[in-house]
Amino acid sequence: MHSGIKNPVVKIIFYAILVIWGFSVLYPLLWTLLDALKDNEQFFFNAPWALPEVPLIWSNFSYVWSKYNFDRYFINSIVVTGGSTLLGLLLSAMTAYVLARYKFRGSGALYLLYISSMMVPFILALIPLFFLMNSLGLINTTIGLVFVYASSVLAFGIFVLVGFFKSLPKELEEASIIDGASHYGTFFRVMLPLSQPGLITVGIVNVLNIWNEYIVGTILINDPKHYTLPVEIGVMQAEMQYRTEWGPLFAALLMTIVPVLVIYIVFQRKIASGITAGAVK
């Protein structure tokens, strides 16, 4: 194999571009951390990139954690993200399996319906959803948010998992059926474990999306008890109109970023394969 670019000048330029972009991506994280340790005065009088003055105001973190109830929002976000990802996975895996393996009247149409729903702007459904949830008594409830998020990831899950189930060899199921297992047994004991890589991929992508979701949460959750992290960030930014607490705001941003960053670092490859699978339409 050759060694890529030959012209050293071009190579240096390209390299510089990569480094600059890398910097532009990493720096905001560092900046968030540094600013989370400042007080209002420093925001005002020092350059934005200035290092925070000693003593560092670590208390901004505990302040956000307790005063802004981030402990609760953190748990809410975990419950909502976990619950809706699992529910969404289960529901989409079931349908995906049937669509991939069983032919029946309307199966093609059903698949098409799910897939084409990905084209519908979610914001269109937002207003009616709000009234629907209101009349179902699901507004302001964690379970309501879980239902909506789970439903919103169905199409993506079905799309990816149908492809995944189709790629699995049929012999395994046939053997299972011959062994006398029911359709259910085959699915739960044979197919589901086999499809683990696909499930994880879909799951991780959904976790990231749901963790970060803002607008649906803002509209369906009005009770601070049930806020998720992004909703609270929006609220905090709005509150900055009445009270100036930039340091805590940055601390809050960082707390929201870190969990997804960790998930990303751990599951990098899965995420890459997930988005690749999702986009090949």
């Binding site: 194999m1 972009w21 059903l110 084209m119 914001i123 009616p128 169905l154």
Partner: protein, 300 residues
């Protein structure tokens, strides 16, 4: 086992696996969409108990409303800007990180994706601080090179303020599409490039005659995907950063929908804007499919 009962079992299985998902989907996705179409035909404040049926009145009003037209313009500006910005940069990175054999390619690939795992809300708040005229990053940075302190209100130009929302949108979108294109490039057999190499084709030639045609399908998907996510979702960053202002200069359809519904009490009109978004994104998808397919033929 008798075939009849086997058939029934099969149907039962299909039913139990299909129906719960479908019911769920109908309640939380289909029903709201259908309702939106219905609401769009009414004059309704959202809070009031009575709605007045006005047929297509909302749609007629919409095309007389200069802000709707501006919002459509802004949306398509973002669509075009993001497609151009993201595709060029993402493609460059994808090629650089696969074909150019840089050291640390894996590292760059990992960190370039980071903005995509961060919530748009967080990104909006961060960029607000970058653009802040007094304590912002950008003005402080520019002030390093000028004698007087730079005090540009980046989000407050008389017009074209929408331009300022493009950098955060592009910045946040690159990683995702870079990964897509990288995956496509990695599917190209090395032998293609080796053959080109033997013929003495340089990187540029290889890019134009091998990479682009072979990843075109993926690029097409990316372009359509950018278009759709922009029309459907760009309003979150708009709302967080400017609320559509000043003087509606950064309004997009989604933010105007939100403004109309939750700020100015026109739920019916807002629902009609939602229908407009749906219509435009469908039409644009069809048009783009056409345009891009055409080009594939030319290239291959």
């Amino acid at each position: 086992m008798k075939p009849v009962s086997e058939k029934r079992q099969r149907n039962l299985f299909i039913g139990t696996f299909i129906i719960p998902t479908f019911v769920f989907f109908c309640i939380f996705t289909i029903y709201p969409v259908v309702q939106a179409l219905y609401y769009s035909l009414f004059d309704w404040s959202g809070m009031s108990e009575h709605k007045t049926f006005i047929g297509l009145g909302n749609f007629k009003d919409m095309f007389k409303d200069p802000i709707v037209l501006r919002a459509i313009g802004n949306d398509y500006f973002l669509v075009v800007g993001k497609i151009v910005g993201i595709m060029i940069i993402a493609t460059f990175f994808a090629v650089a990180l696969t074909r150019f054999k840089f050291k640390l390619a894996g590292f760059f690939r990992s960190i370039f994706f980071i903005p995509n795992v961060i919530s748009v809300v967080v990104i909006g708040v961060l960029w607000n601080f970058i653009y802040n005229p007094q304590i912002g990053f950008l003005n402080a940075f520019l002030s390093l090179f000028t004698e007087e302190k730079v005090d540009i209100a980046w989000l407050g130009f008389t017009s074209h303020t929408i331009w300022m929302l493009l950098p955060p949108a592009v910045w946040a979108g690159i990683g995702f599409y870079m990964i897509l294109i990288i995956a496509a490039i990695q599917n190209i057999p090395d032998s293609f490039y080796e053959a080109a190499e033997l013929e003495g084709a340089g990187q540029w030639r290889q890019f134009r005659s091998i990479t682009v045609p072979l990843v075109w399908e993926q690029m097409k998907v990316s372009i359509i995907n950018i278009m759709m996510t922009t029309l459907n979702g760009s309003f979150v960053i708009v709302w967080i950063m400017t609320e559509g202002g000043p003087d509606n200069s950064t309004q997009v359809m989604g933010s105007y929908l939100y403004q109309m519904a939750f700020r100015q009490y026109h739920f019916g009109f807002a629902a009609a804007i939602g229908v407009l978004i749906l219509g435009l994104s469908l039409i644009t998808t069809v048009v783009m499919q056409r345009l891009l397919r055409h080009e594939t033929v030319e290239l291959s």
